[in-house]
């Protein structure tokens, strides 16, 4: 997979993950072009399109479009499955996820994505183990934060 984008029906980018290093200017151009193309498609149309030398697989969940760019030989259906998996993971983590969850906790959404995919390849096919890894990492983060009392925080302890 080359990259994954999440954007709203209004054309606002909510998440972007690039699995190949790309210059900022190119990214912007590609995102804009792709959003226009995908948003212009009618609801009944199929989820695949050919774009530049890539294949685009997208799916709409509520007001959010999940959009992946894959290479010529990649399997479109499995990519749809990946998108669906990711949505399920978000759903499990946030508890019936909505767009606002992703906007306000965008770093969490990235962490989940990073546990699920790495370098554009699927890392773990088991939902459970992905969620477990995230939970553990979150725990670690809380441990980091919790022992600090207010005084400690102020540097007086």
């Amino acid at each position: 997979m080359r990259f994954m984008l999440l954007f709203s029906r209004q054309g606002k980018l909510r998440l972007q993950k690039w699995y190949t290093a790309t210059a900022e200017r190119d990214k912007k151009k590609m995102v804009r072009e792709l959003m226009q193309t995908v948003l212009a498609r009618k609801p009944k149309m199929c989820s695949f399109l050919e774009w530049r030398d890539l294949k685009i697989v997208y799916k709409r969940y509520a007001s959010l479009y999940f959009c992946c760019a894959i290479e010529e030989q990649d399997n479109e259906l499995i990519t749809l499955e990946i998108i669906h998996r990711f949505v399920e993971l978000l759903d499990k983590y946030f508890g019936s996820v909505c767009e606002l969850d992703i906007i306000f906790n965008f770093e969490k959404a990235y962490f989940i994505l990073d546990e699920f995919l790495m370098g554009g390849e699927i890392q773990d096919t088991s939902k459970k183990s992905v969620l477990k890894a995230i939970e553990q990492a979150d725990l670690l983060q809380e441990e980091d934060e919790s022992p600090r009392s207010v005084l400690e925080e102020m540097g007086l302890a």
């Binding site: 479109e76 499955e81 306000f104 990073d114 370098g119 390849e121 890392q123 773990d124 990492a137 670690l140």
Partner: protein, 1072 residues
């Protein structure tokens, strides 16, 4: 001090966190940009504070803003700071920001190497995980080279969580640093049989991706994958494996036979569409067609019939792949595909169109095109209609018009297509008309007649809008009528049509063709009238030309103007001759004698350069600067020359002059910026000669326009059918005859029922003129692989044994130096990096190279304790026997001592806590206490172990030396420029300097190298110099000022340490 911290913390309470920022942006919809710019200012303030929590918060906000499209590259250094925080919370944010913002040209990336390495070896698996994830997004060739070895070690980590990530990231490393593939491959292969399914599928993923690009190097893995395929139930893994086999089978046909059974089973049994689709794709790519092909096509038919648009689309896509190899199998599903043309979804219709392209045959071409023409009429939306149009043309013209049996039909299709409004493809239709008319000699008469009608009705094409692309067709029509004018029935009428004033509204290049071809027509008219005693027709033609051409002489388009005035003068001269009854036709025709032949598009490229011709060499030496100055006045003079000839030109004749004056007035009248002199200009405009032609040409309603009336092509379809029927009947007759003849003998009966492709004979003998090529053209393949493809570099033979030069670079890792022994001749092909093993004489003769145990080590200082260093040693078993009971021992020196567990004596060895099966490596860590760190030193040591073979086991010993460099006591510590300046001012530091000789590498590489090898960090870089800082484990400050002249000025509070560090730096650069 405490007060300052308190103040900082209180400030922090008022800082915005990410949620506040997001909320703020949502509340400032109108002035978002302004709001964000104030936020960015705040963030800049926050980044200046020392509190890492504040920084991390700021970086987190920046990451959000980066996604909104704001440039945050200025904060790259701050991101690195947050990445190097010891707290996981911040580290996580730092790495996330880095993975979103960094790319190969981000220059701070080179500063991260040590930090990443540290995180990779962190005892906390989540630190490691976060570093791996981040690295996978921004790995550069330098990072890949420097960290490949560390990541490779992680592939054997105890935690599957890390193994899995390490395996996946290796793919990115291979892409950036292809040299790492061979050394890392054996371990990667090992991971295919990892007990953890996650790690296993990661390994399958990576190898599949590698193999897809360069399959031939992975053939040897086929049995292993075959085993996995038959045992795995994980669809994700199966898909990858099947994809891999899809790449392998074309290279190894025997594999295909073996795979048929499992593949068929999967296709039959699986309920997962994705897996089914992958199987079908592999079948299409491989050599299983005979046995599974039909099954696949059946399954695809089910997909296409499915109501799910996605499956339908993919079904068609797969069909189009089959089409390339097995067109017959697809052609039987023509009905289904034609149905898809009616689908609501445009992308499905386009796919179906693609398929049709390959499905046509001589037999069904007309039928399919007829259906498509119906769709053209129905189609809404110009894009899809344009697509249809190009497809129709593609379908008909493919492989040199192979499937067209009746070119009259094709020409009439083209003519019908010209009726499409607003198409962009006028040019395409035009080029088809030209191509057919030129190359199919038999069709010329028909084509010319059609084109003449088109010209006559040009107003229908150009009528609506100016930007109408379809008028390009007139370009072709005019040219065909002119070039093949001998076929025209009524050239005079066409000539008139081509010289109508309305033509002047066409684009310039079309007008130019009109003018030029009017001349050709004129020549034909003259020729036709020759011999007629009554020369009025010829004279009429001349008069027509003389009347109409001046309109073009005034054209703004230079090409039109030039051609028109040239031809006008010519015609005037001819007219004079005609008046004297001189026969001119032959001379005029000589102007256009000779036939134009089509030239292949690549012809020019294929002309070989004659020997001895250097196209880049100057023919004349280029003039020097001074010369060109001299020439300038000359050029000005030359420019003036045409002016002198002007008056002669304007002398022409009174009539012409008057007309021009009128035209000018007309132009002025129409020009809103021109202040009109006479109030009667309007009147003049009306009186202007030739203006009566401006109203639209009268349409003679009695004449039925053959092309605006009905699809003529349909008539041809009918005619063609009749013709074929007739032919068939005749053939049958013949066959009957034959049969009768054969009835006496035992001749095999001919089955004449189905009409095969070859039976259809073209309507008339079609001579398709082939395109001309230069005589000595070189046949060449233009099909070259993209040289920039990163996968090309990964085309590496993996079965070849590793060469010594290929080992992964190991940074501060140094192999233990073995004591050389004169009896060690057999191990001479071991590298310097490898400890040479002394083995007893009789053993050595038997085993030679088999037993080898490699050790590399890395010495790291321990920050918490100024007198401790940790030495991590990687043991690798390179022999075929099992190694166990390893004991590590070092001869302590006064200064450095190995830390031994309590109760053991000063000479006891430490037990290495693992055993090594053949080919496996593992890492052990040993802690040393050192007193003084200002001098480098070497420690001698031995490793004892038991080599276990099937029948016996022997005790073996390996000597090594550990080299403690001063660099290994330095720890990368970030330092701020103000603190750095204070440090230098304090005057406690002693200075020293060196010059590096013979170093010519880019400055930033030089810095990166010092950072990397000697644990420094860049404090500040100004143009041609950079300041760098590092700290020893005992708190010595080491400051460097590096200049692009490759001199280093250094300061340190411990001169001996400084001297040694500088020596080591010098050595690093002398090696490169």
């Amino acid at each position: 001090m405490a007060l300052k911290i308190v103040k900082g913390s209180i400030d922090r309470i008022f800082d915005k966190n990410l949620q506040d920022l997001v909320r703020g942006i949502r509340n400032h919809k109108e002035d978002e940009a302004k709001y964000i710019s104030t936020c960015i200012d705040e963030i800049k303030q926050e980044l200046k504070q020392d509190n890492i929590a504040v920084k991390a918060n700021a970086v987190c906000k920046l990451t959000y803003l980066q996604m909104l499209g704001y440039d945050v590259s200025w904060a790259a250094f701050n991101i690195v700071e947050v990445m190097s925080s010891s707290k996981f919370t911040y580290k996580r944010i730092g790495y996330l920001a880095a993975s979103q913002c960094f790319h190969e040209s981000t220059d701070v990336i080179m500063l991260t190497t040590n930090q990443i390495r540290k995180d990779l070896s962190s005892p906390n698996q989540y630190d490691t995980g976060v570093a791996l994830t981040g690295l996978s997004c921004f790995v550069t060739p330098d990072l890949a080279r420097d960290l490949a070895n560390d990541i490779m070690t992680l592939m054997s980590h105890t935690k599957p969580y890390i193994r899995k990530k390490a395996v996946l990231i290796m793919y990115k490393v291979f892409l950036k640093y292809p040299e790492s593939l061979r050394p890392a491959f054996p371990r990667l292969k090992e991971k295919l049989e990892d007990p953890d399914p996650g790690v296993q599928s990661a390994a399958v993923n990576v190898i599949c991706e590698l193999a897809r690009r360069n399959p031939k190097n992975y053939l040897s893995l086929a049995p292993l994958f075959f085993k996995l395929m038959t045992s795995s139930t994980n669809n994700w893994v199966l898909i990858k494996i099947i994809k891999l086999f899809g790449a392998l089978t074309p290279l190894e046909p025997r594999l295909g036979k073996k795979l048929i059974e499992p593949l068929t089973n999967l296709i039959h049994s699986t309920s997962a569409m994705s897996l089914l689709y992958e199987c079908v794709n592999t079948v299409i790519a491989g050599q299983y067609w005979e046995s599974v092909g039909n099954l696949c096509v059946q399954k695809l038919r089910i997909l296409i019939e499915d109501s799910d648009q996605n499956l339908k689309y993919l079904g068609l896509l797969a069909m189009s792949k089959i089409l390339k190899t097995h067109p017959k199998s697809v052609q039987s599903h023509k009905d289904l595909i034609l149905q898809c043309l009616d689908d609501k979804d445009e992308s499905i219709r386009l796919r179906a169109l693609d398929l049709l392209y390959g499905m046509v045959s001589k037999k069904n071409l007309m039928e399919i095109v007829k259906k498509l023409m119906l769709h053209v009429d129905k189609a809404e939306g110009t894009t899809y209609r344009d697509e249809l149009l190009t497809k129709i043309i593609d379908i008909c013209s493919q492989s040199n018009y192979q499937y067209i049996t009746n070119f009259e039909w094709y020409i009439s299709i083209l003519v019908e297509l010209t009726r499409l409004e607003g198409t962009r493809h006028g040019h395409l239709i035009a080029s088809q008309m030209l191509d057919v008319a030129i190359r199919v000699k038999a069709i010329r008469a028909f084509a010319v007649a059609q084109m003449a009608t088109l010209l006559d009705n040009a107003h229908l094409l150009t009528g609506n809008t100016q930007r109408n692309g379809i008028c390009e067709v007139l370009y072709a029509a005019a040219w065909i009528c002119g070039e093949f004018s001998e076929h025209l029935e009524n050239p005079m009428q066409t000539l008139e049509a081509m010289l109508r004033p309305k033509v002047a509204t066409l684009p310039g290049h079309i007008q130019a063709v009109y003018v030029q071809n009017a001349a050709k027509l004129f020549a034909t008219v003259l020729k036709g009238e020759e011999g007629n005693t009554d020369g009025t027709a010829a004279q009429e033609a001349s008069q027509l030309m003389i009347d109409r051409l001046p309109l073009f002489v005034q054209s703004a388009n230079l090409e039109v103007q030039e051609r028109a005035s040239c031809i006008l003068q010519l015609v005037k001269y001819i007219q004079k001759l005609q008046q004297k009854d001189v026969e001119v036709a032959e001379e005029v025709n000589a102007l256009f004698a000779g036939e134009l032949n089509p030239v292949a598009p690549k012809a020019q490229k294929k002309v070989p350069v004659p020997e001895g011709l250097d196209l880049d060499a100057w023919i004349n030496e280029p003039p020097s600067e001074s010369e060109s100055e001299d020439e300038q006045p000359k050029a000005i003079f030359a420019k003036e020359e045409p002016k002198h000839s002007r008056p002669r030109h304007t002398e022409v004749d009174e009539k012409e002059l008057a007309r021009r004056r009128e035209a000018r007035k007309q132009e002025q009248a129409n020009n809103p910026f021109y202040i009109k002199a006479s109030p009667s200009s309007q009147k003049v405009y009306q009186e202007a000669p030739g203006v009566e032609h401006i109203p639209v040409v009268q349409i003679d309603l009695n004449v039925v326009l053959p092309f605006s009336c009905l699809p003529m092509s349909d008539q041809y379809v009918k005619m063609e059918e009749e013709r074929r029927q007739k032919e068939r009947a005749e053939k049958k007759k013949k066959e009957k005859k034959k049969r009768k003849e054969k009835r006496s003998g035992r001749g095999k009966k001919h089955d004449s029922a189905p009409e095969s492709e070859e039976d259809i004979t073209p309507a008339h003998m079609v001579d398709i003129v082939t395109e001309e090529m230069p005589e000595n053209a070189l046949p060449s393949d233009d099909d070259e692989r993209d040289p920039t493809d990163p996968h090309k570099a990964l085309d590496i033979d993996l079965d070849k044994p590793l060469a010594d030069s290929e080992k992964l670079p190991v940074r501060s890792h140094r192999a233990a130096e073995a004591q050389k022994s004169p009896t060690d001749g057999e191990t001479e092909n071991a590298t310097l990096q490898e400890p040479k093993k002394k083995s007893s004489k009789e053993k050595r003769e038997k085993k030679k190279d088999k037993e080898r145990d490699r050790k590399v080590y890395d010495i790291q200082g321990n920050l918490q304790d100024g007198s401790q260093v940790v030495v991590s040693v990687i043991f690798e078993n390179k022999c075929n026997s099992f190694l166990k009971s390893m004991e590590f021992n070092v001869l302590d020196s006064l200064n450095s001592k190995l830390q031994r567990p309590e109760g053991s004596g000063p000479h006891d060895g430490l037990v290495v806590p693992f055993q090594l099966p053949p080919g496996v490596s593992n890492e052990a860590r040993f802690v040393f206490t050192v007193q003084s760190i200002v001098m480098p030193q070497k420690l001698k040591g031995t490793l004892t172990f038991i080599v276990k073979n099937e029948d016996d086991s022997t005790h073996e010993k390996l000597d090594f030396k550990l080299h403690f460099t001063c660099t290994s006591y330095l720890i990368t510590t970030p330092c701020y420029s103000d603190a750095f300046a204070k440090l230098l001012e304090s005057g406690d530091l002693k200075s020293s300097s060196i010059r590096l000789e013979g170093v010519n590498m880019p400055f930033h590489h030089l810095l990166a190298r010092i950072c990397f090898h000697h644990h420094f960090s860049v404090v500040e870089r100004i143009d041609s110099c950079a300041s760098m800082y590092s700290r020893s484990i005992q708190g010595h400050h080491v400051c460097l000022l590096v200049k692009t002249t490759v001199s280093i000025d250094a300061k340190c509070d411990e001169p001996t340490l400084l001297g040694n560090v500088l020596d080591e730096i010098k050595q690093t650069f002398s090696q490169c």
